[in-house]
């Protein structure tokens, strides 16, 4: 039977069996109501994001579990469940409002330093094509060191394992490559 075909009577019977300690009935009930609760929470609080929606669904499930004795099998199941969902969502909204009231929102400030030359806010991005060209012009060993350590962001240990070179050799190659690149790009910039 598909979920949409389940009637309140099915839920009522499952809950009654769950109250009697039937774990299979309880698992079936929780699984089915989880889908329904998730849909309701998404519709009302979907703007919070998937993780927050799932937290709310779990809050509802915990609440259902803790107050399952309040369900009277002679009464319909849906109003009982919906009342719990409604109150848990209202609680969450109040909690969020309280949290937001205590938060101080401020714009992200640009990083500034006392030394004006250290401020990078207005620094141009640079000529990416010139840099790529300069890297291609490096000797093979230096180029490999730059590609692994700076472009692929490998650690020295990883680069050493990948190339078979020692860590010291990689450090020297990187240092020399940086010096060469600096020289090449400075000359190009001055031209």
């Amino acid at each position: 039977m598909s979920e949409s075909e389940l009637t309140d009577e099915h839920f009522r019977v499952l809950m009654q069996r769950a109250q009697g300690g039937d774990q299979d009935a309880y698992a079936a009930l929780l699984t089915v109501i989880t889908h329904r609760v998730r849909r309701i929470v998404r519709r009302r609080r979907g703007f919070l994001g998937a993780e927050a929606v799932e937290d709310l669904v779990q809050d509802v499930l915990l609440s259902v579990h803790s107050v399952r004795a309040t369900y009277d099998p002679s009464r319909p199941f849906a109003p009982w469940l919906l009342a719990i969902v409604r109150h848990r969502l209202a609680d969450a909204a109040r909690r969020d409002a309280r949290t937001q009231a205590r938060q101080v929102v401020f714009d992200e400030e640009d990083v500034t330093f006392a030394d004006l030359a250290a401020n990078t806010v207005d620094e141009p991005t640079g000529d990416a094509a010139a840099l790529a060209h300069a890297i291609r012009g490096l000797p093979a060993g230096q180029r490999q060191a730059i590609e692994l350590l700076k472009l692929q962001e490998m650690s020295l240990k990883e680069a050493s394992a990948a190339t078979g070179l020692s860590v010291s050799a990689l450090k020297v190659a990187t240092h020399r490559a940086m010096q060469t690149l600096k020289r090449t790009l400075t000359v190009k910039h001055e031209d």
Binding site: Q19, Q23, R75
Partner: protein, 219 residues
């Protein structure tokens, strides 16, 4: 924690539970306890003072009956407030008997002014009643609070108020039965103010006493 894992944990944790009796049954059960408390307090008052402050005045009798009905209705409403799915209209149950009580007191005040020429507010303080109402109200509310822990804390403030009305109504009767009041305004002001302050306090306490379970794994 994933929701599927939570379900697995909840299912593993499940044990047979006895469905709670309906709010009417629980309300009547608590009311019986309240009447027993009242009977005990009256017996204590009788043994100490030798007589009660009761009168055969029909207005007085109707006031006490209205308070009894208010206590019963408020108790039922309080127990209904912790059952998901009940209509909110049930919370209005104590309004009619409470209004009857207040109207009778207001009428009594007018009668005092007409027959005695004064409200008599400055003639008597009523601290013993304030004390006995506070003690009695807290005892009666405490038992109800314990009973209400088996329920869903959907509206803890409202539940606290309704429980407070029920408890203070019984405590009010006890104060009226054991101590004579020369003027109706004394009852209206002293008992009314004591009840109002305590009910507001109990509403705040209710928020702390009845809480939903928290999800320890929530982000």
């Amino acid at each position: 924690m994933k929701t599927e894992d939570l379900i697995t944990n909840l299912v593993a944790d499940t044990t047979p539970v006895q469905p709670l009796p309906g709010p009417w049954t629980r309300g009547v059960f608590w009311f019986a306890y309240g009447v027993a408390y009242l009977g005990l307090a009256v017996l204590l008052g009788l043994s100490r003072k030798g007589r009660l402050a009761t009168t055969g005045d029909p207005v007085y009798v109707v006031q006490q009956v209205a308070l009894l009905v208010t206590a019963l209705m408020a108790a039922i409403a309080a127990f209904a407030s912790v059952i998901p799915g009940y209509s909110g209209h049930i919370h209005l149950l104590p309004i009619v008997p409470a209004t009857v009580w207040l109207a009778m007191l207001a009428g009594g005040c007018l009668l005092d002014v007409r027959t005695l020429g004064t409200l008599g507010l400055s003639s008597q303080s009523d601290w013993p009643c304030v004390t006995s109402m506070t003690v009695g109200g807290l005892i009666l509310w405490g038992v109800m609070a314990l009973m209400l822990r088996r329920g869903a804390p959907m509206t803890p403030r409202l539940t606290g108020v309704l429980g407070g009305i029920a408890a203070l109504s019984i405590a009010n009767i006890e104060a009226c039965l054991t101590r004579p009041h020369a003027f109706t305004s004394i009852v209206l002001v002293w008992h009314g103010a004591t009840s109002a302050v305590l009910i507001l306090l109990l509403a705040k306490v209710g928020q702390r006493v009845w809480r939903w379970p928290t999800n320890p794994t929530a982000s």
